[in-house]
Symmetry: C2
Subunit: 334 residues, 2 copies
């Protein structure tokens, strides 16, 4: 029982990854440990990082918490050609300051946080579009997919492992997780396969609440995923963006006790003080972010390492990863 | 723009499912809508529900919240033959009241909540076992899997959709999500295929913190999953149970701001007042639960419906579901 010392707090730390090999304590030279996914990302050249335009950032300020601390949530809006009808509506709503004074009304554990106008009495601004259902699944028709140089890496990580598209696949397009029907290159010379694509409901993705079909929602009622990816919502609800900072201000809110996680009383709701497109904020207050190019070699190595952890904590590489377990790295630029 | 009325709050409700068909307002008879997964479960015969022995329930009481409300978390321990070395240690630790006065020390968004002794100074009780790594993946060797009557349903939902086992599969054994290498029946007469199996890291599963290999942890340091299933931890850490009630008391805790979500200060930790096996509580205080037999016809239909939502809210059935999106129904018995 000599080895039966209690697990130190280090055990907790090592749940994710450690970089010090056990063999460092031996006399023989230590083999270089395989890098953890985060280490691969940290070593990316600057050219692998792509700036996110402030015009594509939605900045949501919640009322300060009980201890007076600010709570800011930053959402990256989905780029063209995906979901642009709803994204346009969201820009209109933000320009009208429509969400100011609304609230977070629903927090359902392992599912979603939802916000909007709980009173159902607030008039919508002029100019919102009615977006057809066809825009859920195929807002872009025959979009070119940039195929990675080594095509076995990230598309196949998804393609061989995605539960939701059968023989089809999932992968990344311009920094976003997508599923679709992929037409693979028929020869080495054909580097640009075509595909029908739709965004997927990974943790932190932001979608549009709606009523029964044929309603598709305006964009005034939004939610974000705070649990295991609810992929059954793919192609059934519009996805319009993702939380890239501050999701903890939503995911750690008390769960609502009514059906579907709605709050039982108005007092439980969290007030939204302001929602703006970042370019409408004072210049000094405009946040700047970058994402790791999903077409970069660094991303390919990162995705492969997420699927096959070989850093020192791990004994058995998984041999695969679902697309929502390969979150696209995003970083704040100061 | 006449149809451009704002989305009612109903839109939020309908994110999950609604049972009133749109056609109910028309003169023609409404077709019966396909049942939602929850409706299938609600209609299960009593014989499909299996009692969970109070001896397999770990009852963890946290200190009351800021408003004085009790916070109880109930964990179902994993049954034999899986992870029983660690489960035995957990029983020893609970019998020794070892966790009383310890705390929740780590809350990492979209990952885990972890609890144990933050001081790293508390002596462990006598009699804890050192469990070998071989128990992660194959605590049971050649366990019989009860094959469903219609074998295409839930094992195949997993088998065709699981990202983490290649040509192998995932499915359910005695109410638990498992992955493994499955040896399928070679004929219709062979109803009991054999398999090597391991439990998977779905939302709410409880595991054992450890240090680097060959350490496997004692069970004194525990965590639960509060985000997208971190399946890369499968076969790398022991899974010993799952939270079946009260996970919101853990998942809604403030996220820690130190590395890996550890709290920066002792004041941020949540105190654990008591952890007991339910049979050590006063009889009137012993919770009673049942789970839906994963070998039942009801479960097969429920799993199929999770993979192919046809209830009124949905336009496009997904055609598949990963195993962590088919949570095993558990209910409290009063």
């Amino acid at each position: 029982m000599r080895r039966m010392n209690r697990t130190p707090l280090l055990a907790a730390l090592s749940l994710l990854s450690l970089t010090t090999p056990l063999s460092a304590q031996t006399a023989t030279p230590a083999p270089t440990p395989a890098p953890a996914p985060g280490e691969i990302v940290a070593a990316a050249p600057a050219t692998d990082w792509i700036a996110i335009a402030p015009a594509d950032l939605l900045v949501m300020d919640l009322a300060p918490d009980a201890r007076g601390r600010a709570r800011r949530v930053i959402i990256q809006l989905m780029p063209a050609p995906f979901s642009q009808g709803w994204v346009g509506n969201i820009r209109t709503l933000a320009a009208a300051h429509w969400w100011d004074g609304t609230s977070v009304n629903r927090v359902q554990d392992n599912y979603v946080v939802q916000w909007g106008d709980a009173t159902e009495a607030k008039a919508l601004p002029e100019g919102l579009r009615v977006v057809p259902e066809s825009e859920y699944a195929n807002a872009a028709r025959l979009i070119s997919v940039r195929w990675p140089r080594d095509s076995s890496l990230y598309w196949e990580v998804g393609a061989s492992s995605d539960a939701y598209t059968g023989w089809n696949g999932s992968g990344f397009i311009n920094g976003w997780p997508m599923a679709g029907q992929i037409v693979a290159p028929s020869s080495r010379r054909m580097q640009q396969p075509t595909a029908l694509q739709w965004p997927v409901h990974c943790y932190g993705m932001v979608g549009v609440g709606r009523n029964l079909s044929p309603d598709t929602g305006t964009g005034a009622e939004l939610y974000t995923v705070i649990g295991h990816a609810p992929r059954h919502l793919d192609r059934n609800i519009a996805l319009v963006g993702r939380v890239i900072e501050g999701i903890e201000h939503l995911s750690s809110l008390p769960r609502g006790t009514e059906a579907l996680g709605f709050y039982a009383t108005a007092e439980e709701r969290t007030s939204i003080t302001s929602v703006r497109i970042a370019t409408d904020l004072p210049t000094a207050d405009q946040p700047r972010f970058q994402y790791l190019s999903t077409e970069s070699e660094t991303f390919a190595r990162y995705a492969e390492a997420r699927a096959n952890r070989r850093d020192p904590f791990f004994n058995v590489p998984a041999g695969g990863a679902d697309i929502c377990n390969i979150p696209v790295p995003v970083r704040r630029v100061t």
